[in-house]
Symmetry: C2
């Protein structure tokens, strides 16, 4: 037995399908009397409206696509979680896709948006895209500059990083390393190293930078490269939570004492166990950032004009056990 449609309801209630539609959508001009009849027909038939019809006629899916490099990553999964909550509050569902570091997959997601599978997309990408590809599409980007008309949501990478490195200096560090996974030039994330360099120069300290382009999941190799250098350091500014955990695990199994011999501050700390128990952290306000993403995207979808192109959120400094 096939599912009942709006026609079946109309027939059973003895009204036109337009009337059923109006009841379904809480249209105000409907008499109590007919409304009641329609509702009871709906209940009797166990009718649920089919979204496919609605989407086609309204040319709107109420779906937001989210693209991340990988889903199984503390930062991205937290981001997705917050996006889902924010989207849900505004009546949108979340389509989640991972590029797995393949640009073709990213382009496929774009095509899906163009095909109206989603009304818009939130992008976390490491790749350079042709600006043309975003033509007429509603897209919000996290951290990365994708094109003139694509708003960015990010954190105060430069200021927060600067404060972090200065904090390490203030706590007595003389030899501070920078440990990062190299973002593209066009990413706001690259300001983290810039801030580090600037502070080091200002204090006449020699920089020691390990900033490599690695795939998510391979962070430990970056950590290894730092230690293979055999250089001395008493402080590390780390960019990214997985890199930080990886670093911490490495240290834990060694003979280095934290924070006595080595102090660490990390951009994005540990997301597990409710916060930065171990590592001193610059925490991005992900909930607010996610809400802003959704808010901006919906504005774009609705064709609004006053969409703020640059949205910078301040990190919270959270003292952990990795600094004195």
């Amino acid at each position: 037995m096939r599912q009942p449609t709006i026609k079946d309801v109309a027939q059973k209630a003895g009204v036109g399908i337009g009337t059923v539609s109006r009841v379904l959508n809480d249209s105000p001009q409907i008499s109590e009397e007919t409304k009641k009849r329609v509702l009871s027909a709906i209940k009797e038939l166990n009718y649920v409206p089919n979204v496919a019809g609605k989407r086609l006629s309204k040319n709107k899916s109420n779906v937001i696509a989210v693209l991340v490099p990988v889903i199984n990553h503390p930062f991205f999964s937290k981001l997705i979680a917050e996006l889902e909550i924010a989207a849900d509050l505004r009546g949108y569902s979340l389509l989640v896709a991972s590029s797995q570091h393949r640009i073709e997959k990213e382009n496929e997601i774009l095509r899906r948006v163009a095909q109206n599978e989603a009304d818009g997309a939130i992008f976390v990408t490491h790749y350079q895209h042709n600006e043309e590809e975003f033509k007429n599409l509603a897209v919000v980007s996290i951290d990365r500059h994708l094109g003139k008309d694509i708003p960015i949501v990010t954190s105060n990478n430069y200021e927060a990083s600067k404060a972090a490195v200065e904090y390490l200096i203030q706590k007595g560090c003389q030899r501070i390393a920078y440990l990062g996974t190299k973002p593209s030039q066009a990413s706001e994330v690259s300001l983290r190293e810039k801030a580090y360099q600037d502070v080091m120069k200002e204090h006449h300290l020699e920089p020691l930078v390990i900033n490599e382009d690695v795939t998510h999941g391979e962070e430990s190799s970056v950590v290894n490269h730092l230690f293979e250098r055999k250089e001395k350091f008493d402080g590390i500014f780390v960019s990214g939570c997985t890199l930080a955990s990886s670093l911490y695990d490495r240290i834990e199994s060694g003979h280095i004492k934290v924070p006595e011999d080595l102090q660490i501050v990390s951009y994005d700390g540990e997301f597990q166990n409710g916060g930065a128990s171990r590592i001193t952290t610059l925490e991005q306000p992900l909930k607010k950032m996610a809400e802003r993403c959704v808010e901006l995207l919906i504005k774009l979808i609705n064709g609004e004009k006053d969409v703020e192109p640059m949205n910078i959120f301040d990190c919270h400094f959270i003292k952990g056990k990795s600094t004195k």
Copy 2:
């Protein structure tokens, strides 16, 4: 300027819309000649087919909905990641929703599936649902018994747990505690405690069980309850990765030595940093499980009959540093 539709393409190519549709779908009976004309019209107009039309006419969305209690959780996000990959390989997109421990939200997801927003759903739920609600819906469940016609994908909870507890005994533990977040009766996960109880009885050992119903994110309270008991124990069998990390953090900041004074085995270890660096773990083969979920669901969607109702996957035992 509105997006071009199949009509525009047909007109430009001088053919009927049916022909365009056939070209789009690689229908075999199309002459090379017209195919070429249509393709060039498509390119010229920069046409992308609108999925809404296709979905309505085919009554199929090629979307799989995934429901988890929370997204931002190592186990669930890893699961989602694997589901997305498996679904993508088979031409399905993933709609992700979190119940946030609210049964109303779970029911809303069900309604969405009923509305054909998705062709089917993969459920990870802690709640009891009315079997009626799943009537005619394609649903696959992880761990939990949701109804007679709903296949389950799970791991060998009983056997793996039994082996883990016996392992602790073999390694010299005398006083072994069970630490868990209480699942419902209908979940396969409850077999973990059962296995523990059985082994303890067999070895004439006194059980010590802390198995509480907590929200994800609140696992540390369960850990606290164990320590508040002030009882002695030299071994713990933990059920669940967040509980394990929470336990481990607690221990790390104390004076207990692992594995010298206390040995730990955990069902689901750490998902970060590529595996169980710290804790000895029973690891569920999530990739295979996710693939099976998708495979079963697609069978259900296609109305196939030979759908295996119970799918049990063996855990891998991974020795970490938390046992001797």
